[in-house]
Symmetry: C2
Subunit: 351 residues, 2 copies
């Protein structure tokens, strides 16, 4: 294998969580870019804006007034994609026109009372509070819904329409496509190898070292072997953990610290508040709380859109939408050339 | 079924080509948008720019000079994601680190010598020439490669880095994820129902009428029942056709005409040169040319990014990347409310 320099020739890599392939073309970073340039993130965000519906004391779309919260703040999304009471569309009249009921709730959680702060700028103890709230949300919504998706869209480039630091939680009466694939593939790995896929993977990556971005006693951050987005990372516990509420207090402290370090690295990479979408995948809940879900391992995906600089993103368009996802540099190149150049432990930003 | 107003309540719909689900939330268009605004497409594109490597007579990155072409013009991509001679990475040393060889060619095809023209502004006979060239490309590359992906990224919003009208062709030694899924699912439909999935689907849509955008004797354009992008369309022949070269000359004329009408409707929708990624899916080639591929039906997908206006796009981000794709209005709403308001047969633009 050493005779094949993975960083010089295009090849396919297998994503064992999705059961799909990624085209890795190591030499595409050399092409000139004359396409769309992204605007830098907004910079003069006021710490408090009484007209921003996410701020403490503001009035929201439904007329309610936010409390003067001092830490995190959770409320129901005023424009939910999922509502608890949607009727069942009933049986399909034809196999090509199949529908299924979709019920659920959508919530928003502010991370902090200030609008001009982000997770990497928050204190580790404040990030820990966010993690505790995430775990509470799984405990609260899990018994009722088979899937509780916690996710953060950060930055206008990722469709985030409010600069106030927040995440969303969409709980649903169904298991969505992505966790369904992750469930199937982890189950298959478990039955064929008798090992939890992502526990085995984390151990392998910790040994191979070439894709490790950060680690501590409880956590590992890698650019996964099958990453599609240029700076995509996968955050994994070292221990076998099914869901967020199963994390010990010590593991939550370690997670808060690793998140702060990862997001600081991201911010420093192109010297902007780094955009991404991120989210947690843990074992399904609802009826699955009573099943053996040992094949699952808790993990978080970070999907940042940028490619070359603060203003040039990776477009997942024609070929990617119609054929398969393609990346322009290898995951190993990312780790050696970019992430490792940035050793600063504090962000380029200050609050 | 009539008791369930699909346009009022969220529900899931099944995509039988991908075997995945889409969340349709009919009421999400009402939410206010304060997020990213897209720039309108560039307007003052010179008809001829000697520094643009796609223009007739220009020098390209590899030093070659383009001929003074007067119709279409095909050349090898100077920064290809696929090359014919990439070595085989060899067998994986571990099931979580699987690689496969990826070989192929990437070509670019200019549609027209002018930079300030687009397909909807071209004459039907000129569009027919493009279709003939597409068919030739499948005949030329098909024998060697199992998959020949023809696609167009139109507009800076879709990662297109050159305004000169062109498409790309990436032929590969492997069957990519999306056509692989389409192959599996069409095969399953064929064995379980004894009918070609998309021939049956086109007939059903022509009868049901509620999602039909355009039709003529040979072609049908629908917003598919399972569309994820707001203005996504599916272009289908009425007859059973495996691949582009199988189209008769009359069918190519009819295709050129339906393409001109569809793309004109798109341009008129928000009164801009409408961005999209589009591409053709036909039966796999290479070794599959000798197999029975009757379960396949030729079709083209159009994936436009816009949602509400020329400047507000749909973001497929957090929930969509981590859970499942979600749309903010139903396919039926799109057909009645938007496309049908635009009966103009000529574009708002002139050349
Ligand atoms: O080849 P182009 O036009 O330079 O590049 C564009 O299309 C490719 C194929 O969909 C994508 O991989 C690129 O991200 C996009 O910018
Ligand atoms: O709910 P928001 O933040 O208004 O909206 C954002 O996230 C959603 C979930 O990923 C997406 O469906 C929207 O397209 C995006 O703009």
């Amino acid at each position: 294998r050493l005779s094949f320099p993975l960083s010089e020739h295009q090849h396919l890599r297998y994503n064992p969580l999705r059961g799909s392939w990624v085209l890795v073309s190591a030499h595409r970073m050399k092409r000139p870019w004359k396409g769309q340039m992204e605007k830098p993130p907004e910079e003069d965000i006021p710490r408090h804006d009484p007209t921003n519906p996410l701020c403490p004391g503001s009035r929201r779309a439904n007329g309610e007034i936010n409390p003067n919260y001092e830490s995190t703040f959770l409320f129901d999304n005023d424009f939910p994609a999922l509502q608890p009471d949607a009727p069942d569309p009933g049986a399909a009249d034809h196999p090509l026109f199949q529908t299924r009921a979709a019920r659920g709730v959508c919530k928003v959680m502010c991370f902090h009372p200030w609008s001009d702060i982000t997770l990497p700028l928050m204190q580790v103890s404040e990030i820990k509070t966010v993690i505790d709230k995430w775990a509470e949300l799984i405990e609260e919504l899990g018994p009722k819904y088979p899937w509780v998706q916690i996710f953060e869209n950060k930055g206008a480039m990722m469709g985030c329409s409010n600069p106030h630091p927040h995440c969303q939680v969409w709980a649903s009466s169904f298991l969505p496509n992505e966790p369904h694939l992750a469930d199937l593939n982890q189950k298959m790995h478990w039955s064929s190898r008798g090992e939890v896929m992502l526990v085995e993977y984390a151990r392998q990556e910790a040994e191979r070292k070439v894709r490790v971005v950060l680690e501590n006693d409880s956590w590992l951050v890698v650019v996964p072997f099958w990453a599609t987005w240029p700076f995509q990372t996968l955050l994994l516990p070292r221990r076998h953990v099914l869901r967020l509420p199963d994390l010990t207090s010590q593991e939550r402290d370690a997670l808060a610290s690793v998140m702060k370090r990862l997001l600081t690295k991201y911010d420093n990479l192109f010297e902007i508040s780094f955009p991404y979408s991120m989210g947690w995948h843990g074992a399904p809940t609802g009826p699955h709380l009573k099943e053996d879900m040992s094949h699952w391992q808790l993990h978080a995906h970070y999907y940042p859109p940028l490619l070359r600089s603060a203003s040039v993103r990776k477009f997942m368009v024609g070929y990617e939408m119609l054929a398969l996802e393609q990346r322009d540099l290898t995951p190993e190149q990312v780790v050696t050339s970019s992430f490792f150049f940035f050793f600063f432990l504090t962000s380029v930003f200050t609050t």
